[in-house]
Amino acid sequence: MKKTALLAVILTGALLILSMENFPSWGDVQSPASLHLSRHFIEKSYEQTLTPNLVTAVLGDYRGFDTMLETVVVFTAALACFLVIRLPRDVCTPGLFYYRHTRTGLVVRKHDACELPGENPTFERVDSDWPPHDVVVVSTCRMVIPFIQLFGLYVVAHGHYSPGGGFQGGVIFAASYVLLAVSHDLRTLVHRLNERVTHLLSAAGVLLFFGVGLFGMAMGLNFLDYGALEGVLGMSLASGHSLGILLVEIGVGMTVTAALVIIFKLLSSRGTVTEGL
């Protein structure tokens, strides 16, 4: 098997190497790839969209439909994980469960918790395999998380002028929640962002994107034509496009944050979304 694999790989590689004979060399300014489409984008996109970051302009506006589908892919991934590994809520979860008495710090162990006690003030649930409550880690993360979230928002909002945008900002925002789960435990995260909220948020983000597109249709233009935003608040055509990109990026950010949190929660808790990591 390994030898066949090696042979196949070497053959494919050789064929690929042979087929790169007529490619332009590295950094060639006159190659077709940097002349036809990209020249137009570099020279025209600022006056058409008022967005200095060309990547954002092309991503959010010229290829906006691609970006919408890309958001849909993230949304799909979250749904797919939910469909494949989420365990039904009423199923008896086998294994060990630990409860700590809040006053004395005494820990009680329970097998096969079919009926989990609800919000009980005297006992709190402790993760069985990951009890990190370390004072250094917890307090540092508590201090750092707001800054990470602020930075995530900045990356979403400043995508017009610097590297950034909805996807990157959304990932940073989701990372702050992952850090919350790592430093505290998964239940803290679920308490802050429960499943319902994350699912609704992910759908709302795509719907915001979709809504911007439908607004274009409602104004008599094509789907996703941000030119429809012209005249809103007295804006010019180009700043309408700029606003459209911003709205779209916010939608993307919401979906990406929610979807990544969903995937993290499901994967780390093996589908129970109660404890894990």
Binding site: L16, A33, H36, H40, V72, L83, H199, G216
Partner: protein, 484 residues
């Protein structure tokens, strides 16, 4: 004006709303799916009528004109494909109402949303006129498909994971090929690319680009040596997912290859050896698919192997290189989708009553489920290629195309696979007709299941009788005049 995009938007919108509804009013989820699919089908009909009267429709997404923005381009053939996809999805969705509502408990919303997304993805693949957008749509369709097929107990996750690995490699290879073409031409729009490639010098790199793209698509469409994922994925999954995806996935990929061959890639850019390799693989697929179908015990797995053979028909037909065979391959997309739909719908109904789909479980079905079995017989006859049914006509075109070009091995393949299909299906008929059903068997045929199935089966006859019309109105205008 918006007809083109309105075929897809209800599905996307419906999937987002299904999630919102799933966490607030879960009773609304199933009707929402029906509305979305019905709207989409309705707009497909409108679009088809429009395209038939006014010619190719183009839609600029975002209002940017072609090379800069993304466009949807719908000709008569793709309008027919869109109708086929949304219609068959609607029939599946209606037929499996009970499974969808009961079978997924709290996850019904997620399942419905994924189902709508995968249909939207497949329709987008047909509609788009942009190479990279096609990749994204392939991934939308595939990713939701992995989840639908992977849901279930037993070996379903493993089969789906296998599909995911193979499918991702195929899509990545396609992406690589698009990158090659982008390096050489600097564009991603199909029409623009076709113009530039006509003038571009024919080089080794151009050949490489075309070969990599076609190779990636072959992997995605389960052509013979890469077919390993298909039988497992369709036989192990829930019957809903199999009935939804089996008529769509491979056929849509075949459609993409045909569209690239007749609309984008000029003949000179195709490497000389490629058609021969394709014919070889297609013929091998027919023989191997039929042979392996013969050895299967599970009936869904058997039909999945027949699908592998059918892919061989279409790939062979499009690479024979004459007009008749190309017409046959294009017609066979419709025929194969309808036949597969009928068979999988019927098997789904039977599986609901009898459990595991092995031959022993099919005793006496003609007596207990007469309508379902009648539809099954029609689907099977069409697979075999019995005259008034749709499958006969596409096979006829393929055969006469192969005869014109002297591809005798391919012809033998077609005939052998028909014969094997006869043996396979008559085995089922025999068990279902002559053997007594067991004492405890109480099969129920509910009208809500039989109606979609009957629609699909009647469509097989109607489409078969009007296949001349389909060829004239939908297909003939699309094949370039240079192909004789």
């Amino acid at each position: 004006m918006h007809d083109v995009v309105l075929t897809i938007l209800p599905l996307l919108f419906g999937s987002f709303l299904a999630i919102l509804a799933g966490w607030t009013r879960s009773a609304l989820v199933y009707p929402l799916g029906v509305v979305a699919l019905a709207l989409s089908t309705g707009f497909c009909v409108k679009l088809l009528l429009g395209v038939l009267s006014t010619g190719t429709a183009t839609y600029l997404l975002g209002g940017w004109s072609p090379p800069w923005g993304i466009v949807f381009v719908i000709d008569t053939f793709s309008a027919g494909m869109m109708l086929l996809i949304s219609g068959s999805a609607l029939l599946t969705y209606l037929a499996f109402r009970a499974e969808i509502i009961e079978g997924f408990a709290e996850k019904t919303a997620a399942f419905v949303a994924l189902l709508l997304l995968t249909v939207a993805g497949h329709m987008g693949i047909v509609a788009t006129g942009d190479l990279f957008n096609l990749y994204v749509l392939i991934e939308v369709a595939a990713l939701s498909g992995y989840a639908l097929l992977g849901y279930g107990s037993g070996r379903a996750p493993l089969a789906s994971l296998n599909y995911l690995c193979v499918g991702s490699v195929g899509a990545s290879l396609y992406l690589l090929g698009v990158g090659y073409l982008y390096i050489l031409t600097g564009t991603l729009n199909m029409a623009d690319l076709a113009q530039i490639m006509l003038a571009a010098p024919v080089t080794a790199s151009l050949h490489g680009a075309v070969a990599v793209i076609l190779f990636g698509l072959w992997v995605k469409m389960a052509l013979f040596p890469f077919h390993g994922w298909l039988p497992g994925a369709y036989a192990m999954s829930s019957p809903v997912a199999a009935a939804l995806l089996a008529p769509l996935t491979t056929k849509v990929m075949v459609y993409v290859v045909i569209r690239l061959l007749i609309g984008v890639i000029p003949g000179a850019a195709i490497p000389e050896a490629l058609p021969d390799v394709a014919m070889l693989l297609g013929t091998a697929a027919i023989f191997a698919g039929s042979l392996m179908a013969y050895r299967q015990i599970d009936q869904r797995r058997m039909i999945a192997y027949i699908l592998v053979a059918e892919v061989g028909y279409m790939v062979g037909g499009m690479f024979i290189g004459n007009r008749t065979a190309m017409t046959g391959a294009m017609l066979h997309i419709f025929a194969d989708a309808l036949m597969t739909l009928t068979l999988f719908l019927a098997l789904g109904s039977i599986a609901r009553q009898r459990g595991e789909m092995v031959l022993a479980n099919m005793r006496g079905l003609f007596r207990t489920m007469p309508f379902t079995m009648a539809a099954f017989v029609l689907g099977a006859m069409s697979m075999i290629g019995v005259p008034p049914l749709f499958g006969f006509f596409s096979k006829w075109y393929l055969l006469s195309g192969a005869l014109e070009s002297g591809q005798y091995l391919f012809m033998v393949g077609l005939l052998v696979s028909s014969l094997v299909n006869v043996v396979l299906f008559f085995r089922i008929f025999e068990t279902a007709f002559f053997d007594e059903p067991g004492e405890s068997v109480r099969d129920i045929e509910h009208w809500s299941r039989v109606t979609p199935l009957a629609v699909a089966a009647v469509l097989l006859i109607v489409a078969g009788l009007s296949s001349g019309l389909i060829v004239d109105r939908l297909i003939a205008g699309i094949i370039p005049a240079s192909l004789i």
